[in-house]
Symmetry: C2
Subunit: 312 residues, 2 copies
Amino acid sequence: MTATLVIGPYSDIDTAALKEAFDPVFLDHPEKLSGLDGAARGAITALAYKGHHAVGMTEMDLLPNLALIANYGVGYDAIDVKAASTRGIRVTNTPDVLNDDVADLAVAMLLMQGREMVQASEWARSGNWKTAGEYRLNRKVSGGRAGIVGLGRIGREIADRLAAFKMDIHYFARSEKPTPGWTYHADPVSLARAVDYLVIALVGGAETEKFVSRKVIDALGPRGVVVNISRGTTVDERALLEALEEGRIAGAALDVFLNEPDIDPRFYRLENVVIQPHQGSGTFETRAAMGQLQRDNVAAHHAGRTLLTAVN
Amino acid sequence: MTATLVIGPYSDIDTAALKEAFDPVFLDHPEKLSGLDGAARGAITALAYKGHHAVGMTEMDLLPNLALIANYGVGYDAIDVKAASTRGIRVTNTPDVLNDDVADLAVAMLLMQGREMVQASEWARSGNWKTAGEYRLNRKVSGGRAGIVGLGRIGREIADRLAAFKMDIHYFARSEKPTPGWTYHADPVSLARAVDYLVIALVGGAETEKFVSRKVIDALGPRGVVVNISRGTTVDERALLEALEEGRIAGAALDVFLNEPDIDPRFYRLENVVIQPHQGSGTFETRAAMGQLQRDNVAAHHAGRTLLTAVN
């Protein structure tokens, strides 16, 4: 019997590579676990997981000999790591390989929001340029004030890029970090008050839920723009929608939402919101690297070697 | 009689400021010049010009006492500077104040092209994300190879930004320049062969017409992307369209075109082209600075002071 279980929507390339490496059992959703017979479940020692559905005590109870959950993605908030640790199950993720892509998307979304580039593209393509003349003026981005919420590895990549746009960089983190003169804020409200662009680069999970609260959003002010490439959960989305609808902030640029992909339709009615379908790490190059790192962790487990990127 | 003539489509703010400063004659197009009577034309010593229609010998002949053409914009290819110099007419432009905005737009267009962000936005907004699932994978931008054609002030701003995306920077210029280790190419074909992204930051005018030739475009290869924020004239547009339609290059991101705003409709049929309606400098902040610099040049002329930004 196979010792590896694969759950999630994998690309053809990743599916083929997983098959080749581990000849695993494939499932498309964690809820299908109970459909496997006891012997098959008992044989599984490693789970390669991709998805945002919860993997918690129920799923772990169904896999009595599970020793590894290898997550595809840097954010492992879908996995109950505490429950895993209690059972002696190790968890790995795929950090770093996606930092560049996510930072690229964050910076591009910020520029697109300020320069109204989706609207300007539609203006040209619809024929308005020809008949109604120049697209309206918009907002200078270079030289603005940017606040990074969470100066981890991705936050740092974003800040390094924005610095090249001559932006004044501020940040919130649990503690002050060595930076090239960027301004530290111990409090996110103080950060929001100091900047025009608030870029959220927190980890997901219960600890950061609604960390960007109504109070933080209100502190941004009428020129404020919220950029989120982390998780929908990190923002008080109801407060964000209200601030956008009432014009109390200037706009938003969002790659992540609550309840993806069935997001709140109120976002679609807002012209000042750049919407991306959670594609931060969505390049061929990076997804290939993420798949490889996930398989390397599974292979390390089966060979009794040290896991490459363990989180517990 | 007034000594200042204003030609072009100015914003309400600029129109009011021009009126306040010079109480000028306003025309919307150079061809309206012949409609002014001889006395009015003879009184004009300064022309504040905004537009892309030619201002040449015909127009100058109609203004016998013209001593200054103050252009709104850094590119003054609409103005026949040689003819102006022959007549002792000084020409000024509005350099530098727009470098940041144009560089911002170039970098954002490049990212949007690689990450398919207009298409991904439509994917999410149209409901496809909800029903058809994740948007398709696209292309990693950070770490790519970028070639700047023309390392003037704007080209330099673009290169500085792209360097923060860990790009390998190559450039063409008339002569090698002091850079942080970027690779100089004396020949644009050699530059195109070395890079994936070719970013055109040349001046306009007859000297650079079709500088990015069919041969340069062919040298880019199937991963090549052309980014143009300079003038439509700097590219062999027919060769570019053919290369795009035949899939011989990967795509383009264009803010400028031949015959704007009535551009070749073949561009609209190409999904791999990011189109912007010539809005490189189109922010409130920068357009205000451009208008101010134009008026400062006109005021310097009338007061007999040194012109701020003369080009001849």
